[in-house]
Amino acid sequence: MLNVLSILILPIMIVGIILVGLIKKVPVYESFVSGAKEGFDIAVRIIPYLVAILFAIGMFRASGAMDFLIYLLSPVFSWMGVSPEIIGMAIVRPLSGSGSVGILADLITQFGEDSLVVKMAATMFGSTETTFYVIAVYFGAVGIKKVRYALKVGLMADFTGIVASILISLWLFS
């Protein structure tokens, strides 16, 4: 049911907006095009910020430093009765959106959709956003370089979301 709702929203919104526009006598095609033009400028403005974030994170993962972090944190997780594989998701979630999707897909292949690890990872995935990416894109689009406390708060929210996901999953699914 939820799936149907999810998929329905998009087409309804698109058609809805255009219908309302027509009713209000808005020149829908022309308005659309004039609004759409900005898409290009914004996307291009974001590029330097994306490059900065992605290349730093890419190096971090390729160097093995991330695997080492996971290795260091494993004992804590095993003690909690949680598969250490979840650490990968916990660390990558604030760093990379596509990375998180990859990890989730990988966990599903390894453990199956009904396993605690996968449910916990999916909860982590759904409950927070990729802080570094959001900062790069949103602040980058308007040229903001000094982020002040935005990063701190973002990471605090991510950390809380991850811890909450772990505890809630343990409570609901085990």
């Binding site: 907006i17 927070t128 040229g143």
Partner: protein, 288 residues
């Protein structure tokens, strides 16, 4: 942000160097340890029960076994090539000695694996960044176009009137009828409905409006920090499309846990933003 960014890069570099030095010290890749292969015929040798096509070239004393890539290469050869960044290329083994059908040969030496890996990653990611940005162009164009229609139909203004009492308190710096609030509401609504694709361009529009209210054009305003806090803590009541695709029917069960966790993270995010806002106001007052 500066320190974290520089930190990620420096740590990666140190790790890579450390890892490679450790490889050299313990000769993890066994450079200089020959492998044993058997000659099957003129065009093939066998290694650990795998037949590999190979040609012996050169004169006595300086001979090489030239192996052209094939999908059936034994793991050891594949790994050697990949570690040297030369996957699927022809492998040349240096012959050390030959006793009848048995040849002792050296695989090409493997060094600086991690340093090579981080360099490749850096350039690959730079390319990926551009691909992502270009991919964004289409989605942005689509939603910004629709948004323009909605703006001109006054849909947006009506939405603000509805949403303002709810979120006005979180953004006290935004004047009452400013379009920034409208765009923020649209972005949050898109997020709540699980429409990540729509949310991004709407969020950027919101940032543009907030930037117009911003006194220092290169520094994040309090409103921007609050907006970011709400966005990054992710407010979603309907499952994101990716999750539906990956998890199938099981998503409904997950929505309970996701909603609980996301509410907690959002509350923390908002509280954090409010706290730092008050703190920075106090500091400004002290200096005034």
């Amino acid at each position: 942000m500066n320190k974290i960014w520089a930190g990620l890069i420096i740590v990666s570099f140190l790790f890579a160097i450390g890892s490679d030095i450790r490889d050299e010290w313990f000769n993890i890749h066994k450079n200089g340890n020959p492998i044993e292969v058997m000659v099957v015929n003129e065009n093939a040798i066998s290694f650990e029960q795998n037949i590999v096509s190979a040609k012996l070239v050169g004169e006595k004393g300086i001979q090489e076994l030239v192996l052209s890539y094939s999908d059936s290469w034994p793991t050891k050869f594949v790994e050697n090539a990949e570690l040297r960044g030369k996957a699927r290329e022809t492998l040349r083994l240096t012959v050390v000695s030959q006793k009848g059908d048995q040849i002792s040969a050296l695989l090409p030496q493997v060094h600086v694996v991690k340093l090579r890996a981080i360099t490749t990653a850096a350039f690959d990611m730079a390319e990926t960044a551009v691909k992502i940005a270009i991919g964004l162009i289409g989605v942005m164009a689509l939603w910004l176009g629709l948004l323009k229609i909605a703006e001109e139909s006054n849909l947006v203004r009506r939405l603000v009137k509805f949403v303002h009492p709810l979120i006005g308190k979180l953004f006290p710096d935004i004047p009452k009828d400013h379009p920034a609030l409208a765009n923020i509401s649209l972005n949050l609504t898109a997020n709540i409905l699980g429409l990540g694709n729509a949310a991004t361009p709407l969020g950027i529009k919101a940032m543009e409006e907030l930037q117009k209210l911003n006194k220092n054009s290169d520094t994040a305003s309090d409103a921007m920090c609050m907006f970011l806090a709400i966005n990054t803590s992710s407010v979603q009541l309907l499952p994101p499309v990716t999750l539906v695709a990956l998890m199938g029917v099981g998503v409904s069960e997950l929505m309970v846990s996701i909603t609980l966790a996301t509410i907690i993270s959002t509350v923390v995010g908002i509280s954090g933003a409010l706290y730092f806002r008050r703190k920075s106001r106090k500091m400004e007052a002290n200096y005034a």
